[in-house]
């Protein structure tokens, strides 16, 4: 487990993740499915969680780590409460998401090479394509409750309004001051 983040922060313990894995049949082919559930419940995949998923489906930790570090949906580092995806598909790129991405990162004060805001609320990532190209440029937010919100025709104004709303929600829930 060298180099793999140990379980930090978050209110969800590895036990709760294990509990959620119960519904998944114990067979190696369900590794991706198990990691998906773990990612959703825990918010990221620390070593303990990957190990729990590996044990559950009956594969070595090394193979689970190999898979956990391959797919975009998974992160072995802690992420912000809100995962904001900026679509960089052809149409969204042409229609202004390059500028939107820059705007979003500067709005959240996220430096080049970084992805998560310093208050731990937002992680900004580029995404391949959301399939809503007719309403490009598109951004998507994965909410802490697992819901996904897709916003079409995004502009800096739309993005600012969205971030304001999410910040307000975070304050109301006591995640930030």
């Amino acid at each position: 487990m060298i180099g793999h983040t140990a379980c930090v922060g978050g209110s969800v313990s590895a036990d709760i993740v294990l509990n959620n894995l119960k519904n998944i049949e114990r067979k190696p082919q369900n590794l991706v499915k198990a990691l998906r559930v773990a990612q959703e419940v825990k918010g990221y995949l620390p070593a303990e969680v990957v190990e729990a998923a590996a044990k559950h489906v009956g594969v070595p930790y090394s193979r689970a780590f190999n898979v956990a570090t391959f797919y975009h949906l998974f992160s072995i580092e802690p992420l912000g409460k809100y995962r904001v995806f900026v679509c960089m598909g052809t149409t969204c790129y042409l229609k202004g998401n390059k500028e939107n991405l820059q705007y979003l990162k500067s709005l959240l004060n996220i430096k080049e090479g970084q992805h998560t805001s310093s208050d731990g609320l937002f992680t900004v990532e580029e995404m391949r394509c959301l399939g809503c190209c007719s309403h490009a440029p598109v951004i998507a937010v994965y909410m802490p409750n697992g819901a996904r919100k897709v916003i079409g025709r995004a502009t800096p104004e739309v993005i600012q309004k969205l971030i304001d709303e999410l910040r307000k929600e975070a304050r109301e829930r006591g995640w930030v001051k």
Binding site: P28, H72, M88, T91, E126, G131, H135
Partner: protein
């Protein structure tokens, strides 16, 4: 939607009715009962116009949800509740006319069904009350006229609109019309008739039907579907699989998403037919990361099909058994590659396999496997329903039927359109999608997704088919068309595509892993004004190497956007190299840029 009356003695799975589907449309068939006949007629009427004779259809799909359809749905629900009106609200999928999102349709018996475009929650009350007063003048389009509503002759019918008239909607005929979560609505529109017909044929006759229909794979390669099916059928194996590829990986491709979200049963039907033809009893649908809604609706479709004896044991009394499982991708471009997705279904990294052996001999868990794109399987259902002879009259000599194309970019009417194979790209871009928006001029069209390539507008007078496009250095791919206007820079776009491939390359083979990175650094050099003429030659040489040497089609296709840009827009590359100038003013040619060597 079980037994029609007490006189019907069928009950799945032990005693299913072989004529179940026909019975739902014209029934009852196995007995004669006026009361039952009356009940059936009433139910069909109810499906069309709702329980009270008035129904509002709200399009709920990923596309409409991105622009506020959920709020429109809530507004309608609240209005109906508060006003106490006797109206049914029904969720439908999407027509593909994305420029009218969010849209709703109001239907009332004896009146023209009216479609309203770009609806906001505030307008809902006015739209419905006006419609109920017999005034359709504010509608965007009507499905047909009845001659008794106010203003109906000022509103076009769908068939009068060029973007509808020029389409041939075979696989998308239910999209935007039926509730994707209602098997009953699918069945009364002829759904599962193809399956019912297939089960009365021998498997080899089903394959012959697909052959005569000239169906070719809609996922990109255009491989004749019947050859694949026959190859798996001829394998001797205890277990065989059908895999439906619904992981629409190509950026700007959204026709599969729309089809599965709007009409999941057509995929279920196509898969069962494929399973029957090749002798498989298990199928997997591989859905993309963003396919939550598609997966949800498919799950419902599978459950319902099982409940009504159309899936599971002894389907329609034929003795044939089939089951379908959904697997969802965890996000990777390579996951859409046919052998890589097998790896992911097996719970591993989605990296492509070395071929041969091909999946038809050694596929999922080493067993013979047919992997088809979802649209291909939907076409199979249509062919079995309508017969090959009718299907083969549409399309070209070598390739029958239609293709759903996703049109986006600098275009007036973005959306998904189903056109006969062989329709010219110009017809799709200019007539159907309306060309560039006011004040803009088109320069290029990206055809077929990232691995497809760019064509200049002067070249788009060519038919969209599997044989003509490769001659021009592009491919039909997943049916993507992205319109690029004059204010965009082709060098920048080529660079962006390569950046995409660099971040998405799975790293398994060297040509792709190293080649894409090297090509990107050259393109960055050109776009920052530091390129040379030799760089273009180097790009071409590298590009040809990738086309030949990569392990999978995604790597083979990676250089095509660059190669096609150099082929058709050389002057833009020259401007960056010789004049140190970006004609569109996008690339950082004149600015000092930080380069990352790595």
């Amino acid at each position: 939607m079980n037994r029609c009356c007490l006189k019907c003695w069928h009950k799945p799975p032990d005693n299913p009715c072989p004529n179940y589907v026909q019975c739902r449309i014209k029934g009852p068939l196995c007995h004669d009962d006026p009361e039952c006949r009356e009940l059936r007629a009433r139910r069909l009427n109810e499906l069309e116009f709702g329980r009270y004779g008035v129904k509002v259809r709200v399009a709920i799909a990923s596309c409409t949800l991105a622009v506020g359809a959920a709020e429109v749905y809530e507004a309608i629900r609240d209005y109906v509740k508060e006003s106490g009106l006797a109206i049914d609200i029904s969720v439908v999928g999407c027509h593909g006319l994305d420029f009218i999102d969010p849209w709703i349709e109001v239907v009332r018996k004896g009146y023209p069904p009216a479609i309203y475009a770009n609806v906001s929650p505030e307008e809902v009350e006015d739209i419905i009350s006006r419609y109920l007063s017999g005034d359709v003048s504010k509608a965007f389009a009507l499905r047909y006229r009845t001659g008794n509503a106010k203003g109906e002759f000022h509103v076009p019918t769908l068939d009068e609109l060029v973007f509808w008239r020029k389409q041939v909607r075979l696989v998308s005929s239910n999209c935007g019309l039926i509730n994707p979560e209602s098997i009953e609505e699918y069945v009364v529109r002829g759904g599962y008739l193809g399956l019912a017909r297939a089960l009365r044929m021998r498997p080899e006759e089903v394959i012959e039907e697909i052959k005569l229909a000239k169906l070719r794979g809609r996922g990109g390669a255009g491989f004749p579907t019947w050859i694949k099916w026959k190859a798996v059928k001829d394998q001797v194996s205890d277990v065989k699989y059908v895999v439906a590829n619904a992981e629409e990986g190509d950026p700007s491709a959204f026709s599969n998403r729309l089809l599965v979200e709007s009409d999941p049963h057509i995929l279920v039907e196509g898969m069962i037919i494929a399973g029957y033809a090749i002798g498989a009893s298990k199928g997997y649908v591989f859905v993309g990361t963003e396919g939550d809604l598609a997966a949800e609706r498919l799950k419902k479709a599978i459950e319902e099909a099982k409940k009504y004896g159309l899936l599971g044991e002894n389907i329609l009394g034929s003795g044939f058994a089939f089951d379908i499982e959904i697997v969802q991708d965890a996000g990777r471009y390579t996951s859409g590659e046919e052998t890589a997705l097998l790896e992911e279904i097996e719970g591993k990294r989605s990296t492509p396999r070395v071929r041969p052996p091909y999946p038809v001999t050694k596929g999922l868990w080493g067993k013979p496997t047919v992997i088809n794109n979802v649209e291909t399987l939907a076409h199979a259902a249509v062919i079995l329903r309508d017969g090959w002879d009718r299907y083969a009259t549409i399309g070209t000599e070598k390739s029958g039927g239609t293709k759903m194309v996703s049109v986006s970019g600098s275009i007036k009417r973005p959306g998904v359109y189903e056109v006969p194979i062989g329709t010219t790209i110009r017809t799709i871009i200019e007539d159907i999608a309306g060309g560039a928006p006011e004040g803009l001029k088109l320069k290029a069209v990206e055809v077929g997704g990232p691995a497809g390539g760019f064509l200049p507008v002067s070249e788009i007078n060519i038919p969209l088919d599997y044989d003509t496009l490769p001659k021009l250095g592009v491919a039909m791919g997943s049916g993507v068309l992205v319109a690029v206007d004059e204010h965009k820079c082709m060098v920048d776009l080529a660079r962006q595509f390569m950046a995409f491939f660099v971040s998405e390359s799975c790293g398994k083979c060297v040509p792709c892993r190293v080649g894409t990175k090297t090509m990107l650094s050259i393109l960055e050099r050109i776009s920052s004004g530091k390129g040379s003429e030799e760089d273009l030659e180097l790009l071409k040489e590298l590009g040809e190497t990738l086309k030949d040497a990569c392990l999978c089609a995604l790597g083979n296709g990676a250089p095509i956007p660059v190669l096609s840009s150099i082929r058709y827009f050389k002057e833009e590359f020259s401007a960056h190299i010789r004049e140190k100038r970006c004609p569109a003013g996008i690339c950082p040619v004149s600015r000092e840029v930080v380069r990352y060597e790595g």
